[in-house]
Every structure is written in structure tokens, then in C-alpha cells.
Amino acid sequence: MRALRGTLLSLVVLVMLLPVYAMFALSSASDATDLGGLAFDASQLGEHLSQLFAEGGFPLYLRNSMILSLGVALLEVVFSGAAGYALAQLTFPGRRMLFAVVVGTLSLSPIVVLVPMYLVVRQLGWIDSFQGMIVPFMMSAFGVFLVRQFALSVPRELLLSARVDGAGELLIFLRVGVPLLRPALLTLFLLQFLAQWDNLLWPLVVANDPRLWPLPVGLSQLQTEYDFSIGLVSTAALVTAVPPLVLMFVLQRYYVAGLTLGGVKK
């Protein structure tokens, strides 16, 4: 029974991974007629890779995606972290109001405010700039909420003993709060990095200049640019998939923690 279950499950997972393998096979496809095969040719993949990195567009998209994803993820950690901690542990004027706004924003999504958000960014003069791509996502209701929930479980005595020792509130946040919030901040970093790495809609709207395109926009353009050289486009997709997969495996614990937030009864 156990062995049968294991075999069956393994088979299901293998089928699920078939398209992932197909990505490797396709990256080594030499022309549009051998798409159905599953043969993998490493030398052909190597050739595609050198071709991809030799041409102008792709390395630039990769760099832009790194700037965008790292920028958003780092800003998220700093600012959503600070706000989440403050909402959970400090009493300050406007706290209830801010929390209400955060909870209200949880139910909104970029597609709903796409048009006015674009107008705000245009008003700020940030069309075709990294600020325009990064700043609108530098925080999130989800991030603030996640950190706040986590910070609520920080034992008050820890903060208290620091207060008794006469430490200032900001110092307490940095020395006591941040180390305790580390798991939540790592989860947030990972999820926001992955989200921006895959963000197509917003850069499509605010970045008209190809020199600013991140990978999702660049990749959608490559499909037409290379005139259906599937091998090359699949190689680009493969390279795009590598950083998220590596991050996910290194930080898998935090990834799962982020996914299951709210879904599992504590």
C-alpha cells in the first residue's frame, strides 16, 4: 500500500515536471520543426546561451529585472518591516487609521487601480524610469500585514527590559525587533522578489523605453523579435526561471511559510 502510494505520487509529480523538462529540451531545439521531441542537446543550448548574451537586449533585460526585483524587495523589507513593527508594538497618533487603510488595501489589486496609479506616476514625472517601476511597489498591504501579525507575537517583556535599560525606541526596534522579525522579513523579501521578477503588467504600462524593460516585457518582445526561433526564446525563458528557482530552494522554508499564511489554523 505504502509502496504503491509512493510510486503513484512519484509518477504524478514526474508528469507535472514534464513541461519543465520540455523547457530544457526546447532550449536546445535547432528549428521550429523538432518542437515535439524531448531530446536534449547541451551543445545547442550552449550556442543559444552565447547568442543570447552576445546580443544587446537580453543582458539588459536581465540587469533591469535584477535592479527592479532587488530594489522592490529591499525597500519592502525596510519600510513594510518598520510600519508593521510600529503597528504591532508602538502607540502613536494615527495608528488605527493606518491599520484600517492597510486592511482596506489588502482587497485591492494593481489591476483595479491600474489607470489612476499610472496617472499618479505620470504626474510625478516618473514614466520611463526605475522610480516609476519600483516606488509604486516599494511597500504592500500584504507586507505590512504580514510583519504586523508576526510582530504581535514578539514578547513584550523583551522590549520592556530594553526600555528599563534606558534604550531609545528606535534602538529597540533595530536591536530587538529586527532580529526577532527576521523570518517574516525573509519571507517578505522572497515573495516580493519573485513577484517583481514576474511582473509584466506594470512595466508594460510605465516603461515604453526598451532600455528599461525587465525580463517579462523583454521576453514577450523576444517572441516576435527572433521570428519564432523557439530554441532561443526558450533559452531566454530558462535563464529567466533560474534565479527564482534557486531562491526558492535556498529559502524554501520561508516560501512555504509565506504561502500558508492565513490558510492554516494556528
Binding site: R5, L9, M16, L17, P19, V20, A32, L35, G36, F79, A83, A86, L90, T91, F92, P93, G94, L98, V101, V102, T105, S107, L108, S109, I111, V112, V113, L114, V115, P116, M117, V120, V135, S153, R156, E157, L160, R163, L170, L194, D198, L200, V205, L215, P216, L219, S220, Q223, V233, S234, A237, T240, M248, Q252, V256, L259, T260, G263, V264, K265
Partner: protein
């Protein structure tokens, strides 16, 4: 009540005006960026979206108040109704199999064991891959000489024009979306299943309940909260889905895959009809909220299960 809060009552407190002032100052400082951010990028845009939905606004001009015209126009707009229908079909067709399959995989996968640990990591791979990358691969899988046609050829079925056939294109997107998110749901459900108290199952086994009966009578009711969470994120995710339709089919053929977010984007940024696009956004938001509330109402029931 959390443990920390309970301890708090007995703990001595540092109080007085000095402490209150210090907290107010530090708290305001830490929360100020958030206050500005949410005001500028969410509160103002949301108010703007509501306002713009009652106006006629092309990017070059200024918004002109037209009352309910956008909403009235929507009622007679075949493009809107087509998109609403495509989104509804896409949502139901991708959510239902995702959850059924997810549960079927999660139940055996949640059992302990070394092999299961490995499989749980592997099952997440499609979910961790960027949607843009998977869309690129699947457009090749669905190509004329692609893997999909090779596989159905093995059982003697004629090749099909997956992405260019009006009847098939949406289903091709459904297949890809289901595949992409399945691992995500499996992992969330697995975590939920692992959190269930094992004593209940032991007691049920002692009472002679078979596995199927135990699943229907114990597992499903206890898992309600996790199922609700998965259902809500699946439905909301599907209703907002933009990338697969944009990358695989561009909404075609003949609008067969023109999901609502794609229609909204094209209306706003293709035709620069910002007012009408905002009205569509409002309808999408209300639909998402209403469906979420409905799911809460139906699945939440009377208890806090």
C-alpha cells in the same frame, strides 16, 4: 489571545508621559513612509478610479463628468460581455480542477516519509517558475509541431491548432494555469492537513471508520478553513489573470481568450479610454469582493471551523 498578550497583563510596565512620548515619536517615524505611500499609491488611486469611472477621459484631455454613462455603455458592450463570460469560464474551469487535483495529491503527500519530503519540494517547481517563462514554454508545447500534438498523436488523435482555434484556445490557457498553480495549492493543503490533530483520526480508526469515510466526515470538515483560503486565492487569482492570455494568445482568436483584465488594459492603454477602463475595474473589484464574501458565507458556516 496570544501568549504574549496574556503575559503582558502581569508584567510590569514602563509608563508615564516620557514613555508615551517616546513611543509616539518612534512610531510616527517608523510608520510615516507607510502613511505617505498608501495615501499616494493606493488611497488616492482608488478614489481616482471611483471618480474616473463616472467620467469620459482620454489621456490627452481632462476628465469630463458623464455620470453613469460608462456603466450604461457597459451593458450594451458586446466586448465587455464577451470578456466577462471568458473570465467566468476561465475562473471556474481552472479553479475546480486545481482544488480537486490539489486535494487528491495533498492527502497522500501530507503523510510523513523521506520520499514525500522530496516530492513536496519538486511539486513546487512549476509554481516557483516565473509565469512569463512558463507561458513561453507552453506556447511552444501548444505549437503545431509541439509536445501536446506529439502526445495526442501517440494515442492516434489528429494534431490540433490549440492556440488558434476559437473552441480550444481558452482550454489551452486553463491547462497551463492549472498546471502552474497546482503545486501551490498542494503545498498549502498539505500544510493544513499536517496541522490536523492526529488523535481524531486514531479515534475514528478505532471506531472502524474506513479511509473514505474518515476523509469525508473528518478531514474535509476540519480542513474547511484551509480549503476556504485556497478557494479564495484561486478565484481572485484567476479573475485577475492577465499574463497567460497576453503572452499565449493576445486575447484571440476572435476574442475567445480576451479575459477581463486584458480587455481593461486594452481599453485604457490601447484605446486610451481611461474613464471606461476605470468603470470596468470597478465592476471587476465588486465581482471579486462579492465572490470572496459569498465563499466566506458558504464555507464558513456557523462555527469557526
Amino acid at each position: 489571545m496570544t501568549l504574549a498578550a496574556r503575559l503582558d497583563r502581569t508584567a510590569p510596565t514602563v509608563s508615564g508621559r516620557g514613555q508615551r512620548w517616546a513611543e509616539a515619536r518612534a512610531g510616527s517615524l517608523l510608520a510615516l513612509p507607510a502613511a505617505v505611500y498608501f495615501l499616494v499609491f493606493w488611497v488616492v488611486p482608488f478614489a481616482g478610479a471611483v471618480y474616473l469611472s463616472f467620467t469620459s477621459y482620454e489621456l490627452a484631455g481632462v476628465p469630463e463628468w458623464t455620470g453613469l454613462d460608462n456603466y450604461r455603455r457597459m451593458l450594451d458592450d458586446p466586448g465587455f460581455w464577451n470578456s466577462a463570460e471568458v473570465t467566468a469560464v476561465f475562473t471556474v474551469a481552472s479553479v475546480v480542477p486545481s482544488i480537486v487535483l490539489g486535494l487528491a495529491i495533498a492527502v497522500p503527500l501530507s503523510k510523513p516519509g523521506r520520499l514525500n519530503g522530496v516530492l513536496r519540494a519538486l511539486v513546487l517547481i512549476p509554481a516557483a517558475m516565473p509565469l512569463v517563462a512558463t507561458s513561453t514554454v507552453w506556447s511552444a508545447i501548444f505549437a503545431d509541431h509541439g509536445l501536446a500534438n506529439t502526445l495526442i498523436g501517440l494515442v492516434g488523435i489528429e494534431p490540433k491548432p490549440w492556440l488558434t482555434d476559437e473552441g480550444l484556445a481558452l482550454w489551452a490557457l486553463v491547462v497551463m494555469t492549472t498546471w502552474k498553480h497546482l503545486g501551490l495549492f498542494v503545498i498549502i493543503l498539505t500544510a493544513g492537513l499536517q496541522g490536523l490533530p492526529s488523535e481524531v483520526f486514531e479515534a475514528a480508526a478505532l471506531d472502524g471508520a474506513g479511509p473514505l469515510r474518515a476523509f469525508a466526515r473528518i478531514t474535509l470538515p476540519l480542513l474547511r478553513r484551509t480549503l476556504l483560503f485556497v478557494l479564495v486565492i484561486a478565484v481572485i487569482g484567476a479573475m485577475q489573470s492577465f499574463v497567460p492570455a497576453f503572452l499565449l494568445t493576445k486575447g484571440g482568436p476572435a476574442g475567445a481568450t480576451e479575459v477581463l483584465p486584458l480587455y481593461l488594459w486594452a481599453t485604457g492603454f490601447g484605446f486610451e479610454r481611461m474613464g471606461y477602463a476605470s468603470a470596468i475595474a470597478m465592476v471587476l473589484l465588486v465581482a471579486m469582493l462579492a465572490l470572496s464574501l459569498l465563499q466566506f458565507g458558504v464555507l464558513k458556516g456557523g462555527d469557526d471551523g
